[in-house]
Amino acid sequence: MKPAEERAYIQQARADPRAFVHLYDHYFPRIHAYVRYRVRSGQDAEDIVAEVFLKAMRRLRGFKWRHEHSFATWIFRIAHNLIIDYYRRSERIEVTLDPRERAPESATPLPSRAARPEEALIQQQTFQQMQTLIETLSPRRREVITLRFFGGLRNKEIAGILNLDERTVASHLSRGLQDLRDRYTALTDLTAQTSWQVLEEVHV
């Protein structure tokens, strides 16, 4: 979606909320991915994703368009705040120290659109492995990595959401990714003969 289109849809949705579905269609994958990485329970993540969009639609009149990234920053801030509320409300512990102790969540559904079940399985495994790795990062780096890679936000926008300096965001991003890569390499060495191999074959 081009910035001009996005702005037009925002204007349209203020007058006619039914136009909000265009924004939903565009942002759903990013918001879903970001929330899903931050919240372990698939059901809870879906609840938060739903709340993000409903809240955004209801509050759209209060949003002020300033530049082409302002809507993305705004909606991700809603998501960020809801996740904070979620952990605060449920007093859940966001960090699991040893990812290998965590079993993949069995309730996570497989994508029903997948043409081939094996692709769906690979996608599920890839996500679970990456989610487990990301959860080993510090909360701040985890936040930056997920907003950058799955929310698709730029450092400046992430800085705005997290109230950080842009250079601090860049530093967290760089170091967080480095940590992640190191752990990823270690983990793939450990699981070389597991189903992860399937993933390797597909990716090469």
Binding site: D16, P17, V21, R36, F53, L54, A115, P117, G152
Partner: protein, 962 residues
């Protein structure tokens, strides 16, 4: 390290840099996957997207759509409320046609305050005094102004004046029965008008006509109890003209008291086109009021009104006599018609010579069975019953009053998008007209609507733009017809448009046109516009044409509508130049819906009238009618609606104007798709319709006691019933609200009600006391409320509360399929091939078919597929259908979906029911060489396990071959 020359490297080693992250994220967002050989580990992370549960995604989308629709309904209800007020005004005095978007409506609203107040005093009992002087029909005043009472200063915004809604239209016979006296009628419908019907207000009967072209009305009131009188109704002495109506004395006056924006006085304006004549005959007091000055009714001046008044009560002539044509007349007519080479339908009225004519001409002859009832509805029904939906039609009317009959026929035909041309009188006394279907409308322009195919039409030479400060005005369309002018312009701010709030000094002046000779064209007082965040667009109409020899004019915008005076540049002058409409004028084509493109459910019929095809979406126009008994005529509004395209995608619709429900006219609504649907048939779906019943004869009494307190609650037990809908009033609570800056704090009551009927809303009025506002609340389940507030404090009880409007939601299923003309030839799949393969879960693929031949699929084009499914026993599994198009052994397109794009899940199938699943693939621009085939199968959406088709050796799918 960026660009195409990226080095290839080991994904798990090397240095990470910002470019990798940037590139990986961008590529992932754009293409769904980031290339790891280019972006390394950053791509690995970006690609680890969590899987999405499509059911959740769709469900959430549906939830958002439902909430948005509900919000929109609420907005539309608010708009409808405003429209209703406007409508009341129109019905009472103006009969002007308008469309009213939210913000612009506020302007229209302010301008209409005067007439709303007039309507109020005309129709409410407390405004009536009955003392009449034998020869002084108008109350004289020496003053040309009078100060407004605080309660009469109405601001736009929360507090609206609450005129009593118009009584329902009834026949003259019913009016006579209700009013209890013989009502005098005109012997014919005056030229330029269309008969609406009669309304009864206590002992007063009001016979109403509207100008055929809109913008005017003729109302004849008669009552044995005299005239309603109030300060608004008085007339300066010098404006009263004594007249003779036959042998009777009467009085005539032109003008009315008006309130100019911001003024605290009402001022007599003798130029307002409101002409009134009053007289008395045999104890009945008469008032004939003509409003409006559109060209078609300008002839009706004082002299003509006097003439009409003198004819009131005369017997109507018999219009439906035989033709009286001799055989030689029929021969002459046949010769004339046979000169027309193009095949046509010849419709004749009366029809006594139809068999002889049919023997003599090459064209089809159809009789018009109009009968004795020459009402517009009867004529329209007769024409609709016999006229084709396309092609040429000649209408032969013999021995009819040329002016009246032709006008009525024309008015009826124009509603059906025909154009009636005057023709020669070739045979005796006939009136001859030629109808040309499809050429009446030239096309569609967003913001204006249908553009007529007027051969003299002129348009803007080029759009004109003017910028002052942050604000830009662009005049983008001008339509100069031979009889009127329409200008469309758009105002946009680069920052924030200075929209006014209640209490601000608001701009209410419309743009006007100045011609080179210095004369001006004044606009109609209502326009059609739409506000958006940064400005507004507006189409303003001028009832006068720009003379054919004038090729330029200046559009003058004194101030920008709805802005705060003094905050935006004023006095915009824009020079416009006009040229004849070029043959290739850029108009969206308009397609009439084919005959029978209607859907009926719950007695309500949705009739698709036309579809305009814009570059990026379709505009659909449809009407709503309800065939019901019971005497209460509701106004109908569409509820939840959307369009589904050929791929099953649900596309939202937003309002693009239309005619709101009006007396004796089926309401029409125009909606635009939010995007261009996929090629192929569209289905317009309505899931609910709101029926709103104006009421006047249901009330209840409530006594709040002598000292009601804010927040105090009274338990009530009132059971009411209207038009078959029932509800209970369970409690009342005293409320205090902000009535706006002029009125201040107002007190009133919130009544809580409940009903088993879905979505019921009830508007309550206290007609005995001046009210500040009445506001029905939205239902929360079975419970709903309605609040009314008073301008001058809570009156002493007991209070009689009248039900002024009841609206209910009619859930139903209305679906109309429309095929774009370019695709109509192939809108249906080719004959379905019988398949007859049953899967292991008991579901049978009964038949399948495609539009394009599979042996020659067209790259880039849609491939429409139809599958028919059936299960003899209930299916509990969440079944998804997959369809793969394989060409040359490669998968080139696929679709995984619950049949009917999710609307027909297998667990909902009835045993033995045939489920048709129709959709379209968009084929890629390039197709691999080789033979194509469709592979169709089923899998369990939860376990992802495929169901095996029985008897196909474990293939996992059924192959549909060329």
């Amino acid at each position: 390290m960026s660009g195409n020359g990226r080095k290839r490297r080991n994904r798990y080693s090397g240095t990470l840099d910002d470019d990798d992250i940037e590139g990986a994220v961008a590529e992932k967002l754009q293409h769904g996957r980031a290339e790891e050989t280019r972006f390394g580990f950053a791509a690995t992370v970006a690609n680890a997207t969590p899987p999405v549960d499509e059911t959740f995604r769709r469900t959430l989308r549906a939830t958002i759509e439902a909430e948005a629709a509900q919000t929109m309904k609420q907005k539309e209800k608010e708009k409808a409320k405003e429209k209703e007020l406007m409508q009341t005004t129109q019905d009472q005095e103006q009969k002007m046609t308008m469309r009213s978007p939210h913000r612009i409506l506020r302007l229209a609203f302010a301008l209409s305050v005067t007439t709303a107040l007039l309507a109020f005093v005309f129709t409410t009992p407390w405004g009536r005094t009955l003392a009449q002087s034998a020869l002084r029909f108008f109350v004289r005043t020496e003053n040309v102004t009078f100060p407004l009472q605080p309660s009469q200063m109405v601001t736009q915004g929360a507090s609206a004046p609450t005129a009593q809604p118009p009584a329902p239209l009834v026949s003259i016979a019913e009016a006579e029965q209700q009013a209890g006296f013989d009502v005098a009628e005109l012997p014919f419908v005056p030229e330029g008008f269309e008969y609406l019907g009669a309304r009864v207000y206590d002992s007063t009967v009001s016979i109403e006509y509207k100008a055929q072209d809109g913008g005017g009305s003729l109302i004849i009131r008669q009552s044995p109890d005299g005239f309603v009188q109030s300060e608004w109704d008085q007339v300066p002495e010098q404006a009263i003209v004594p007249v003779k109506i036959g042998e009777l004395d009467g009085e005539f006056a032109q003008g009315t008291f008006v309130v100019y924006p911001g003024d605290r006085n009402a001022t007599w304006n003798p130029d307002v086109p409101i002409l009134r004549m009053r007289w008395e005959e045999d104890g009945i007091w008469f008032q004939m009021t003509k409003t409006g000055d559109v060209e078609s009714i300008t002839y009706l001046d004082q002299a003509h009104l006097t003439e009409l008044a003198a004819g009131l009560g005369e017997r109507a002539p018999v219009a439906n006599a035989g033709s009286g044509l001799a055989l030689e007349d029929v021969d002459a007519l046949a010769r004339r018609l046979n000169e027309e080479p193009a095949p046509r339908t010849v419709a004749v009225f009366p029809a006594d010579y139809a068999p002889e004519l049919a023997e003599r001409i090459q064209h089809q002859v159809v009789p018009l069975a109009i009968g004795d009832n020459l009402s517009p509805a009867a004529i329209q029904a007769a024409l609709g019953a016999v006229l084709p939906r396309s092609g040429l039609v000649d209408v032969i009317l013999v021995n009819q009053d040329r002016g009246e009959m032709a006008k009525r026929v024309r008015a009826s035909l124009e509603k059906q998008l025909y154009r009636l041309y005057s023709g020669p009188n070739d045979a005796g006394a006939e009136t001859f007209g030629t109808l040309e279907r499809k050429q009446y409308v030239a096309g569609y322009v967003a913001g204006i609507g249908l553009v007529e195919n007027d051969p003299t039409l002129r348009v803007l030479e080029e759009p004109v733009t003017l910028t002052q400060g942050d604000l830009t005005v662009e005049v983008d369309h001008a339509l100069l017809y031979s009889d009127r002018t329409v200008i469309h312009y758009r105002v946009e701010s680069a920052s924030t448009y200075p929209f006014a709030e209640p209490g601000d000094d608001i701009c209410l002046e419309y743009a006007h046109l100045r011609l080179p000779d210095g004369s001006t064209l004044q606009p109609q007082p209502m326009g059609d516009g739409k506000a958006f965040e940064a400005g507004y667009e507006f189409a303003t109409s001028f009832t006068d044409p720009i003379p054919a020899d004038v090729t330029q004019a200046t559009l003058i915008i004194p101030c920008l509508l709805d802005s705060v005076r003094g905050t935006a540049p004023e006095n915009w002058e824009m020079a416009l130049r006009f040229i004849p409409a070029p043959p290739d004028m850029d108009l969206a084509p308009v397609y009439d819906a084919a005959e029978g493109q209607t859907a009926t459910d719950q007695g309500v019929t949705v009739d698709l009238a036309y579809v305009a095809a814009e570059e990026d979406g379709y505009v659909l126009n449809f009407g709503l009618t309800w065939d019901r008994d019971g005497g209460h005529e509701p106004e109908l509004y569409p509820g939840s609606l959307h369009v589904t395209d050929a791929t099953g995608q649900k596309i939202t619709l937003s309002s693009a104007g239309g005619r709101p429900p009006m007396a004796n006219q089926a309401p029409e609504f125009t909606f635009r798709t939010s995007e261009m649907p996929a090629p192929g048939p569209l289905t317009l779906k309505l899931e609910a319709i709101r029926a709103s019943f104006p009421m006047r004869d249901v009330s209840f009494t409530f006594d709040p006691g002598s000292d009601p307190q804010p927040g105090q609650v009274w338990a009530l037990d009132e059971h009411l019933s209207v038009a078959g809908y029932e509800w209970d009033i369970t409690s009342a609570r005293m409320v205090v609200q902000d009535g706006g800056p002029t009125i201040g704090e107002v007190a009133g009551f919130e009544f809580t009600m409940q009903s088993a009927d879905p979505g019921m809303m009830v508007e309550l009025l206290d007609t005995a006391h001046p009210m500040a506002a009445c506001a029905p609340g939205f239902p929360q389940g079975a419970v709903f409320s309605s609040t009314l507030t008073y301008q001058s404090g809570i009156p002493a009880g007991p209070i009689t509360i009248a039900v002024s409007r009841v609206s209910v939601l009619i859930p139903g299923d209305w679906q109309i399929r429309w095929v774009p003309p370019a695709e109509q030839a192939s809108d249906e799949p080719t004959l379905l091939q019988p398949i007859g393969v049953t899967f292991e879960n008991g579901i049978e693929l009964v038949a399948a078919g495609v539009i394009q031949a599979l042996d020659a699929p067209q790259p880039g084009q849609p491939l429409q597929v139809a599958l028919e499914w059936r299960a003899e026993n209930p299916v509990d599994d969440p079944v998804t259908v997959f369809t793969h198009l394989m060409c040359g052994g490669q998968l080139v397109a696929q679709r995984d979906a619950v049949p009917g794009n999710g609307e027909f899940p297998a667990p909902n199938w009835q045993p033995g029911e045939l489920i048709r699943d129709q959709f379209a693939f968009q084929l890629p621009a390039e197709l691999p060489a080789g033979e194509c085939q469709l592979q169709v199968g089923l899998y369990n959406a939860t376990s992802q396990r495929r169901y095996q088709p029985l008897g196909l050796d474990g293939a996992g799918h059924v192959i549909i071959e060329p």
